[in-house]
């Protein structure tokens, strides 16, 4: 049987139009390519043995 409280937790407030700017500013858009670039840079910066 459905647990009402448990189900309710799955409903989150939806972004209102007034808060779009804050949402965009607070989320730094990153993807896997960014991670890959970062990893490559880290490897590069390590001294070669």
């Amino acid at each position: 049987m459905l647990d009402f409280k448990e189900e309710l937790r799955k409903f989150k407030p939806i972004l209102e139009i007034d808060h779009i700017e804050e949402a965009i500013q607070s989320n730094e858009v990153k993807d896997i390519l960014d991670l890959l670039t970062q990893i490559t840079k880290n490897i590069e910066s390590k001294p070669k043995e």
């Binding site: 009402f4 939806i14 209102e16 139009i17 960014d34 490559t40």
Partner: protein, 450 residues
């Protein structure tokens, strides 16, 4: 193409010759992102919107610059009534690609219809408010909000789902199912709706079987009870109606009453809290007003005292100035200044000084004004003469010329044809200065006038 790490131009190599970036892996990631987009697009065509959102979100997680995936994701959010989320995706999309991007058209279309945009936003606010109401155990208020939300945004999938959940909680399975069906019309793969539908159907099915069994029994009974007369059938119907009403009264109304009572209790508590707050604010305001009034009264008293002191100082200064004028033989001005002094405000000490000075000043000034008046009178300048005689009589009344002052004043009034005033002056001279020249002359003039 350019290396994404160092921006160096690469032609065919699998690694960047400058920074050793794995270009092959980069191409693979781009390829995965594109494939996820294609999957999302297909799912969107099939109206599997939630599944499409998952695919497209993954696509932009692999490649944030996948504009098509981001634009389609925004479009799906828009279709599901989540305008804020849709606009966010389109705005980010235009950030990555400013020109020749359909997201610009979408944003413009929405911005050019502010009324519609307000309606969408209102519906989102109502949905968020409904979540809050449910957390406060006010499902009935939440249902009202959600119904308004779907009225203003008819494809608002999350609102339908929450509404269905509310009706499940209220044990109204028929309504819950109708809203779930609506969700599945918009988004056939919506996991919440599918789950609710499954749960409801599994709980409804045994009842259906029972019902069929029950119906079977009734039918058997009915066949047996066909012997009842029409009157018996009517009585049976009435009894059935009464039982239904009684059941409603026992089962449904108490639930509703309890919910309403809870609401009333909450509102009463809120009302009491507000009343207490108002009383507190009023009391604090009154205390502040009383305190300010007391301060004002004290300040007024201080001000009055200071004003008195200031007046006493000014009057004392006048005495000093009058003395200076007297010493420089300017008797007329000295007398005028002394006359202007308010004796009520000066100290006893200054009063003594004043009396001593006034005795000397008024005597000299009286004589000065008498002589000046006489001079003006002889020249026929009655206005100036009258002014000086009046001043002389104001300052002193016991001098050798005081009888003449009144006599000349009487003559001036007579010349001005002010007979009553002339008679008064003559009579005053006769009464106050008996036997003097002025009194005798006044008597003669008075007799002539009468």
């Amino acid at each position: 193409m350019n290396c994404p790490a160092c921006n160096n131009e690469i032609k065919q190599a699998n690694r960047c010759p400058i920074c050793q970036f794995d270009i092959a892996l980069y191409r693979k990631i781009k390829d995965i992102s594109s494939r996820l987009y294609n999957k999302g697009l297909e799912q969107a065509h099939n109206r599997e919107l939630t599944a499409a959102i998952d695919s497209l979100t993954k696509a932009i997680e692999f490649d944030k610059t996948n504009i098509d995936a981001r634009n389609l994701l925004g479009l799906i959010y828009f279709e599901m009534g989540q305008v804020g989320q849709a606009l966010t995706e389109w705005i980010i999309s235009t950030h990555f690609k400013k020109e020749d991007n359909i997201a610009n058209d979408y944003i413009n279309q929405i911005q050019n219809n502010p009324r519609k945009l307000d309606l969408y936003n209102d519906s989102i606010r109502m949905y968020n408010q409904a979540i809050e109401y449910i957390r406060q155990r006010s499902e009935d208020l939440a249902i009202i909000q959600l119904k308004k939300a779907i009225q203003e945004s008819p494809n608002f999938v999350e609102a339908y789902c929450l509404l269905a959940l509310c009706y499940i909680a209220e044990k109204d399975k028929a309504k819950a199912l109708s809203y779930i069906e609506k969700v599945l019309e918009i988004d056939i793969s919506n996991p919440k709706a599918l789950r609710y539908q499954k749960e409801l159907k599994s709980s409804v099915r045994p009842q259906t079987n029972d019902r069929s069994k029950t119906v079977g029994k009734h039918e058997t009974k009915r066949t047996r009870q066909t012997y009842f007369s029409p009157l018996g059938q009517i009585a049976g119907f009435i009894v059935g109606a009464i039982c239904t009403a009684a059941l409603l009264f026992i089962l449904v109304i108490p639930d509703k009453t309890n919910a309403l009572n809870r609401q009333i209790a909450d509102l009463n508590a809120e009302n009491q809290r507000l009343e207490e707050e108002i009383t507190k604010i009023t009391r604090e305001s009154q205390e502040t007003i009383s305190s300010l009034e007391e301060q004002l009264a004290t300040m007024q008293e201080t001000n009055d005292e200071l004003q008195k002191k200031q007046n006493a100082i000014e009057e004392a200064q006048k005495i000093s100035q009058a003395e200076t004028l007297y010493n420089s033989s300017n008797f007329a001005e000295a007398a005028s200044l002394l006359m202007s002094i308010d004796l009520d405000v000066i100290s006893e000490e200054n009063k003594t000084v004043y009396d001593q000075l006034a005795g000397k000043v008024f005597k000299e000034a009286g004589r000065y004004h008498y002589n000046t008046g006489l001079n003006s009178y002889s020249k026929g300048d009655y206005d100036n003469a009258k002014l000086n005689f009046e001043k002389s009589y104001l300052y002193v009344k016991d001098q050798y010329y005081s009888d003449n002052v009144l006599y000349y004043l009487g003559r001036i009034y007579e010349a001005e044809n002010n007979i009553e005033k002339a008679k008064e002056c003559y009579q005053q001279a006769i009464d106050q200065y008996k036997g003097t020249d002025g009194a005798n002359s006044s008597r003669r003039r008075l007799n002539n006038l009468q």
